[in-house]
Amino acid sequence: MTVNRYDAIVIGAGHNGLVTAAYLGRAGRKVLVLERREVVGGAAVTEQVFPGFKFDTAAHRIGGLHPSVIKDLALERHGLELRRADPSVFAPAKDGPPLVVWRDPQRTVESLRAISPADAKAWIPFSELIGKAATVVQSAWSSTPPSMTGNDPRDLWAVLKLGAGLRRLGKKDMIEVVRILSMSMSELLGEWFESDVVKGTLAASGVAGMMQGPMAAGTVYNFLHHHVGAADGALRPTVRVRGGVGELTKALAAAAAEAGAEIRTNQPVARVTVKAGRAIGVVLSSGEEFVSNRIVSNADPRSTFFDLVGPAELEPELVRKVKNIRFKGVSAKVHLALGELPRFDGVPEGGPHLNGVISIGPSLEYLERAYDDAKYGAPSRHPYLEVSIPSVSDPDLAGPGKHVMSVVVQYVPYRLAEGEWGAAARERLGDAVLSTLSEYAPGIESAVLHRQVLTPLDLEETFGLPEGNSYHGEHTLDQLIFMRPVPGQARYRTSIDGLYLCGAGTHPGGGVTGYPGYNAAREIVGDGKG
């Protein structure tokens, strides 16, 4: 019976799964993509949560999208329009002028003079260092992680290539990049800047998505992660998609379809069929079966191994390793349909300051204390907020004069010390966020027409993000590169023959970048049809 036979089945139409499907299609494979939800996009979706109001319900901006993906898949032809916001960040301070990060670094330097002349002087040199370091990080992103202990010459070559990327920087820069790679944001920023608002605003990017404060080692790596692909050495760039982030995944779906991939929504996969250690197909919740020698999961590693495959098919050592993957959900989302544009203190009338994100995290101490609350199992009393009002530059997202506001709230732990993430806790979280926002945008509460709060549990259930962690696994140094998702299985293949992973749970990790999907496709194509 060959009716339901495909060359490859991709489980999950997140952006990485769609990238993989498109490239497999282009390589001549007959691909089926099975998406659980009624929409494609995974955590890169735009949904009309309230009539007339479109929200990026999970990710509300994108990262350093793989340039080849944009080009090879002709995404612009398929409707993709990327937009870099100017300014990229508006960050209110506790006392004193706000930090505004403009696209033109000189303009940022000018505005910094009112905050701290020393910081104004340090801004561009710092951004140059970050640019160089991010380039080194990026050079590792396009490769499949080498096995660090094997004798395969290709692995040695990969390691040497990485070293070469470093050495190209020149001796002084090379040492400096290696030196800062393992540092904490607090240490690094302490060497460069003095003002609270600059340090807090930059540090926020280093702790984004991590259950760590800015004093933790490894936060510089995460900061660099978020700066891969930042054009012109920009700091905290804000790149959005016209029409919402979902337009990117729609364009990816169109490209995949054009390459011959079949995409079916409302098709939750219940199980990967494994026979004698080989993956041979999938079974849907409905019972329908599909057959293929190449099963590619865009789901997170834990769900893939434990739910789709099942521990019975796995070696005890792998079960232990997968159990030890740390997710540590740390954020929640609040979506507000607004009847008018909120007035943030420090924003001149009619100014463009709300084009980018509004970063509420006015000092390192603010962030560290917010982390402390969550560390002990409670949502932060004074959370870090990344606020995006995309309707400012994209009015079609809301009605005339109205706006949509998307807030990423950090630190909100998945595991609470007391109670659970039920309706009451959800509402309390929403209230706390509004209360914090009111401190910076007085009167905002009266502008709220509708509100949606997605707790870490909601994020997990809606988007398949384990524990609400956006990255399918924390971005700590021990869970990256050749350790991601688990040591020994960090090259997109799994110990189940024919079963692959292509999502954020693989190298290089999370964010809307497309690198995991791209790399996975390369490996799958290289392995042949099986």
Partner: protein, 528 residues
Amino acid sequence: MTAANRYDAIVIGGGHNGLVNAAYLARAGKRVVVLEKRHVLGGAAVTEEIFAGFKYSVCSYVVSLLRPEIIRDLDLPRHGLEILPLESTFTPLPDNDYLVRWADHDQTRRELYRHSPRDADAYDDFGKLMYQLAVAVRPILSMIPPDPTSMSPKDLIGFAKLAGHFRGLGEEQFHALFKLMTMSSADYLDEWFETEALKATMSASGIIGTFLGPRSPGTAYVLLHHYMGEIDGAMRAWGFARGGTGEVSESIARAARSFGAEIRMEAGVEQVIVKNGTAVGVALENGDELRAPVVVSALDPKRTFLQLVEDKDLPDDFVSAIKRFKIRGSSGKVNLALGELPNFTSLPGEGPHLRGAMSISPSVDYLERAYDDAKYGAFSKRPYMDIILPSMIDPGMAPPGKHVMSIFVQYAPSDLEGGWDETKREAFGDAVIDTLAQHAPNLPGAILHRQVLTPWDIDRDMGLTDGNIFHGELTLHQLFSMRPVAGWADFTTPVRNYFQCGSGTHPGGGITGASGRLAALKILGEQP
């Protein structure tokens, strides 16, 4: 300049590393003088009779990983070194329970079983893995780090050998080691154990001397130290020195003198004399000058480079790098003379648990909260403590029937909000006693004398900048080839004939003597 003030080598600082350095140089036939500022030798490894009849190991209180080759090369046992084992770690818990880990693995297993059978089994596996990794890492302690900034064949080969060494470990060990180097001790131990007090006590070793908490990444690798000590066990490298840690320094000093080294006390050095980029000698605080073609500083990098030499004699970017070098102090010490033994409510009476270490670390959250206080510029209200009663191990430390108690405390941040002074020092001491009294209520009444040392005191009295006990934080970017500065991790300095041999160099930290020895080998042109 009399001939009496001309030497082959001058060592600045009579801490244990300086003494080891001098001993090795003297053993090789060099005419060496050690110049110590204080009236007593040892730096932070010192025993002082602060209160008549009671000997305090004023700062460091255990010998950790004193290199077996040093014990052997300098014949330290013949010069009086006797290390007595610390047989246990006792953790009192609320609700009158406790947890004890014994040097004897089986005894520990039985005790753990009482708390969690699963942990008892896991402890065995954990120990096996740690032992293997400790064996793998140990050679690094005896290496002169290769220079990442040089393209010389020697350094490239050094890195290649190092890489080869790690790749040869095999996948499982390599990955385990990588996790250890990058994870927090809390996360790492969460993978193995469920007993909170066990995890807390084990992760406590990962925070000692750091400005980090058990949940901070980078604290897991210190878990290896305990097991490295086990390997060195044959040479008794881990434990309490008879006569206090000062006796470690004294035995090294005796060895040095036996090779002909001269040691001068109350001979503080004001400045290294530099002519045309070359060190030619030192000027003492009293104005005397000594000359030597080799000058070695055993002091921390800040004092070595920012006090003893002038900025103009150092490259600008080197000075910036040293200024940036993180050396925050985070610990304090309380030394007590006691009229009677502490009586722990969790395990009353005099028992074997009083002959080992006592750890106030009932849970990871307890440690983390102690750390939180320090993050914001306060000393911990409920601090972590690592306590020993030296007189239980070595009766000579106190008069009969009486005792000395050595309490290592975290956290006491060097950059305390508003700065340290006598009042705050005493408040810190009170917080320590108050916390301890929760576990042993008879303690306050038993105190005959108390000495409190904050980072401020340790800086002023012992000469450790900002009171950091390791001469610089042991974070990844300040280790090995980066310690203290990339390009200068091989014990040389940008000033010709000026060398560094203290804990601010590889391997850093603890009473190991490793830096002193490696620096001596470098100076002598020998291979480690």
